[in-house]
Subunit: 439 residues, 2 copies
């Protein structure tokens, strides 16, 4: 009769358990790195988003006019909210800020596999620290998070690149200001597009001498080591404005050294093919890529030193990443990585009949008060059906409250794995079960 809207998901208990498994792993990893959780509103003013990403972002947003005439949008990401919140308390907040959030994000696009209109994302960010130590810590957390699911360096790598180097190359060709983002998004698709269409797009974007520029960007995008990077810049002498290629190479060395000391080396691939689509990155950028099957990005991020100032009024360097649940969950399914199996009950109380129900309910309440997950038949049923439900519930024990047990002021305990049975007086039930479940 009624349908879910296109691009939205329903979470039946099994799906909800998978989702919550992902959330709890995300939360655990972030807390292991001493990140504190925050959250913001699901709905934000459209202006917050366009201020961050330009008016063209609106075409991808789930935005609308609210009943009060406000231009608003379901958040497409948590970073603008983060920048506003941190910016508002920039004067009093302890630095570096280490925050994470688990947010539902929205976009209005044609739904397709791996891209829904609503998805969840882990965001982790360090603000107030400009040094590469923060970049390394964020990348280490990204690796730790994926590994905490049981994934390893055979499943994913971190492709590490540098927005600064790309911006310097663009600047050396006179591509600055509003021309930068369109060219970056052409470069972002370099791997997938054929050369002619790239040159065509560069021409359309107003790039002079697009053929030779295509060669330049291909040469940079194909760089896969620090040595190649050094050679590229020493041969070209790209030194523009505040940018110093040699200074930048020092930062690369420092970052790679820290990552090595943190045991992250096996996961890191220098790969200048990564530029990241978003306008606001200012330094190192990276993506976590699945190594087998379809080479999908599992997460991405980088440094964005100007955003807090733009949205919050106070300058504050920042670096962070986002990891979505949809692609990650696809990979977990492929790898048969499942949430820990968990029955819904610890104990099932089997009730002889209406006369025994009061005593049984008393026992149920007592057990629940003690913290056990307890199920029982809401209406009277035969023993056979009750034991079947008990088995399905995942309970370790059935507690039988029948005529004889009520007379004897106790319950019959049946271990549902071993079949072993014994009688327990009312007073001993909790002690017996606590002893069992704490082992």
């Amino acid at each position: 009769m009624f349908q879910t809207l296109p691009g939205f998901r329903e979470f039946y208990p099994e799906d909800c358990a998978r989702r919550n498994f992902i959330f709890s792993k995300w939360r655990e990893a972030a807390k292991t790195f001493c990140f504190e959780e925050f959250d913001g509103p699901v709905l934000e003013s459209l202006e917050l988003l366009t201020a961050k990403s330009g008016p063209e972002i609106a075409s991808q947003l789930f935005n609308f006019t609210d009943k009060g005439g406000r231009e608003v949008t379901l958040r497409p990401e948590l970073t603008p909210t983060l920048a506003r919140m941190v910016g508002a308390k920039a004067g009093s907040i302890r630095r570096p800020v280490r925050w994470f959030g688990i947010a539902e994000n929205f976009r209005y696009e044609k739904p397709q596999k791996g891209r829904l209109r609503s998805h969840y994302q882990l965001n982790a960010d360090i603000l107030g620290e400009a040094g590469v130590g923060a970049d390394a810590e964020i990348i280490a957390l990204l690796i730790h998070t994926l590994c905490s699911f049981g994934l390893s360096a055979t499943d994913f790598v971190i492709r590490l690149s540098d927005r600064n180097l790309w911006l310097a190359l663009l600047e050396s060709k006179g591509i600055t200001g509003g021309a930068v983002v369109p060219v970056l998004s052409i470069i972002d698709k370099l791997e997938r597009d054929d050369p002619e269409s790239v040159v065509k797009k560069l021409n359309e974007a107003g790039v002079e001498d697009a053929d030779s520029f295509f060669k330049e960007i291909t040469a940079l995008a194909e760089i896969r080591s620090l040595e190649e990077l050094e050679a590229f810049f020493s041969s070209r002498q790209v030194e523009q404005g505040e940018f110093s290629a040699s200074g930048r190479l020092e930062s690369w060395k420092a970052l790679l050294e820290i990552l090595k000391a943190s045991g992250a080396e096996d996961f890191i691939r220098v790969d200048l093919g990564i530029v990241r689509g978003l306008a606001y990155y200012t330094g190192f950028v990276f993506e976590a890529f699945q190594t087998k099957g379809k080479a999908r990005a599992l997460a991405g991020g980088g440094r964005y030193d100007h955003l807090v100032e733009k949205l919050g009024g106070q300058p504050m360097p920042a670096v962070g990443f986002g990891m979505g649940d949809v692609t990650l969950n696809d990979l977990l399914l492929e790898k048969k990585i499942e949430p820990p199996a968990e029955g819904r009950a610890d104990i099932y109380v089997v009730i002889g009949g209406a006369d025994q129900r009061p005593m049984a309910l008393k026992t149920v309440a007592k057990l629940r008060k003690a913290g056990f997950r307890v199920d029982f038949p809401i209406k009277d049923q035969g023993f056979g059906k009750q034991f079947k439900t008990a088995d399905q519930s995942g309970a370790k024990f059935a507690l039988v409250v029948g005529e004889q047990e009520v007379k004897d002021r106790g319950v019959r305990v049946k271990n549902l794995s071993s079949g072993e049975e014994s009688f327990l007086t009312e007073e001993k039930i909790i002690t017996f079960l606590t002893g069992f479940f704490n082992c």
Copy 2:
């Protein structure tokens, strides 16, 4: 510069911890009762909501037209989604269905204290079981949930009423069909409004002989015990259609007996003053009320046996409750009930200087892999500042990696409470700390 939209909240880490504390208590209580978690989309078709509650509901909704021309709304409650989801799988789902959800809900109303445009709600429902055992189980869960925060019968009571009795009284006066909901909502405000304005509103709603009807409803609304209820119905002989006052009184006795056996007696108040605003209730209805200070409703619910059929196409009896986070949190604040204090770190690694950083980072990575929450200075700092940060972080131990420690291939461990220090070789760090934190 940028502001949060009116009626929406930001959750800085301390607020987020409070919110998550409430969520985890909710989740824990529901799981203790063997309820399984589900969730649905934050955005639903407007039609799903108006089908459930009538077109007039739209005036309170956060609804809009999406970019595809669909009439959609941010969900005001989880129940219509639940009814659709259960209805869609009614043929295959194990009954009774015991589901709970923790959902962000929205409404477009003037924001005021305790009523925001976005709030969170715990919903717990049993579907597929028509007997009062299900009503009792739902009420027991509601009580258990509030008690799990440390609240007791001195803090709240459950006001228990019966929509059926109200509907029978209305029907005996010829108030049926579309006339029912407007009259119920007048009755819902009986406690707060003065008699003249109630009579005036009844007249406006087209009730005949509003003066005598006002006396009838006041008499029913003032009933506070089963005996008074019996007297009310025996004196009036309200027997309409399928309704039998004597049969209904039997259900009351059965429900109160089960609640007594479950140890809920102290919390239960028969109180026919409760009618609940929503149109779809069909039997027992109840509200959890704060007993001190402002008598606010902390939660409310009841039986709604026709909703699944209406939205899902299959008949399925149902009973449930909803509990919001805003009023609950206000009460917790008044009672000074706080989330357990939790430092953000277990261990703080103090680094002598740049030369010791690689060894320190290695230790940090190893400790995190073992599951400890570990913080350290991202850039080089003096010992004094580092120990100060270590204290603020809540860490139990500082691990000092200085020049001498690196030479000796180990760390100096300082217990930050006792001040006790000792040297540990690299191999013994994990064993020592695991021993400590598992105690």
